[in-house]
Amino acid sequence: MVPRHVYLYEDPSAVTLDLRRIADHVRTVTRLQVSVRGEYFRHHRPPDLDGLATQIAATRVTDLMRPHTRPPSLSPPLVHFERRLLEAPERRVPGVLYDGFLLQGIYRAALPPAERTKVAHVAITSRLPGTFDEADRRYHARAVILGYPALVSTSGIVEAPAKPRGFYVAKRGLRIDAADARYEALKEQYAGRFVDWDDPRLTLVAQGYALQAVFYPITGEPFCDDKDCVLFNAHWQEELLHAQIESGLLCARHRKVAEALRAGPDGRRTRPR
């Protein structure tokens, strides 16, 4: 399915994210109509904000070792917390993991009927989604949850792909709870080799994920196997930086897809809008 329109949604907590630049990039690569919108739930605000807060709170993962199911009842603090976040999405809360697919379902339900077909929605969010992996029976944080709508997580870009191996070896020697200063020093030692909070490279990295989100409904393939392609699913930060910044390009196969998109449905080149 080639979307007739792509909507990108702002993450107001990500100060180094330039969404218009990402929109320009997606437009240049695909020649699709791309528009920028404010934060997702500010744009698609349901009348019952408490109800939305309750639904989101129910997706919060509390046990990393078990697949999450919606709890039969929710403690009010969790709902109040989500309500505050909905009212002030400029706040960034590290360390809360949500079940990615349940969360995506809530985003999907908020879309108006007119925008449910042939439209790609890419919600850039600070919420950190995770998916349960049956192979090792635990949750893993994700930078992107592809589908409808796609969620690109600015927290996930930092937290999900693993940092260099040496970083974890050195980190193991620290009691992190008591040694934040030493932890910061360790991060400085590895500076540049992973995407950190408020990283100036966030826009470059996020634009690759935005392309993944747009290409998925077109090709039906979630990721590319080519490590040099921006659609590559990086498991390590170094792979991520290589694919998105050092390479920054589509592989030959996906370049052809992009060329076909730019040529338009009947092969005639369309003017980007």
């Binding site: 920028v36 009010p76 603090p77 109040h80 002030a88 809360v93 009691r175 020093a185």
Partner: protein, 280 residues
């Protein structure tokens, strides 16, 4: 010639009694009751009192300050990370920069300054007073706390059958540390549930504590380490910045709920101000 002027025993007794009852009468009905006199509770009470809010701190121990007197491993140097050193500036507590963005100060100095600043701002402190329960209002909203003398709780029930008393308030701040006693009392009624201090892998637990601080239940704000057990956040080591700034955030949230403005001078930086994207 004696150094001190004469005062009879009876006069001293009357002075204690009158001073105490005058205070108790005042805070029998407050805008905010802070349960727990540790760093987050004191910080919240100070900021609220500075903005003219009637606030009383309930502390079960004789001493105020909770763990703020001592750093880690009974060593009384405490640490805060930037930007929490600005609070030390505000209360006039000197400190040194130990390493980049990490500051140290003697616990007794910081703690005594914070207690003094809290009282100077106009907050009242009721020590040796234990929180027993919440006052429940319409629709299960919390409208105050039930308290009793701490020694009553420490003695066998058979010889100390002393009924508690209640303080009414518009808001209660649970700053009772790991126990989260106010939330626990709601849990006993099936009205809330603590997730317990959790085992997420997060590295920025101090940020998470501050950002989770706020209204947790109608009438109840959680602050400090009580936030960790309420929301399942990891416990932290002996660094106090999050406690101070969580207290400040609790005060900000309380001021909003009481519909009183938060002056920019003391306001925590709003996470980030970023323009909302224009529609295209």
């Amino acid at each position: 010639m004696p150094l001190f002027q004469p005062a009879s025993e009876a006069e001293v007794t009357r002075a204690i009694l009158k001073g105490f009852t005058r205070d108790l009468e005042r805070y029998a009905e407050s805008e905010v009751v802070v349960v727990g006199g540790g760093p987050s509770g004191l910080m919240a009470a100070r900021d609220l009192a500075k903005h003219g809010v009637e606030v009383v701190v309930i502390e079960r121990n004789n001493y105020i300050g909770g763990g703020f007197w001592i750093g880690g491993y009974l060593m009384n140097t405490i640490t805060v990370r930037a930007p929490a050193q600005k609070v030390l500036d505000e209360i006039g507590c000197p400190y040194e920069e130990f390493s980049k963005n990490l500051f140290v100060t003697p616990g007794p100095h910081a703690c005594s300054k914070l207690i003094a600043a809290t009282m100077d701002a106009g907050a009242r402190i009721q020590n040796m007073t234990s929180f027993e329960d919440v006052v429940i209002r319409e629709e299960n909203r919390v409208g105050g706390v039930v308290i009793n003398w701490t020694p009553v709780q420490a003695l066998p029930h058979e010889i100390t059958c002393v009924d508690p008393i209640a303080l009414e308030s518009e808001l209660v701040i649970d700053a009772t540390g790991h126990d989260a006693l106010v939330i626990q009392s709601l849990e006993k009624r099936g009205l809330a549930k603590r997730i317990g201090e959790g085992g997420m892998w997060i590295e920025k637990s101090e940020d998470a504590v501050v950002e989770h601080t706020g209204l947790a239940y109608p009438g109840v704000i959680v602050a400090g380490m009580a936030v960790c057990s309420t929301y399942g956040l990891p416990r932290m080591g002996p660094t106090f910045g999050a406690m101070l700034l969580s207290g400040r955030r609790a005060a900000e949230e309380a001021l909003k709920l009481l519909k009183k403005g938060v002056p920019a001078a003391t306001k925590l930086p709003e996470a980030r101000a970023k323009p909302v994207a224009r529609k295209r």
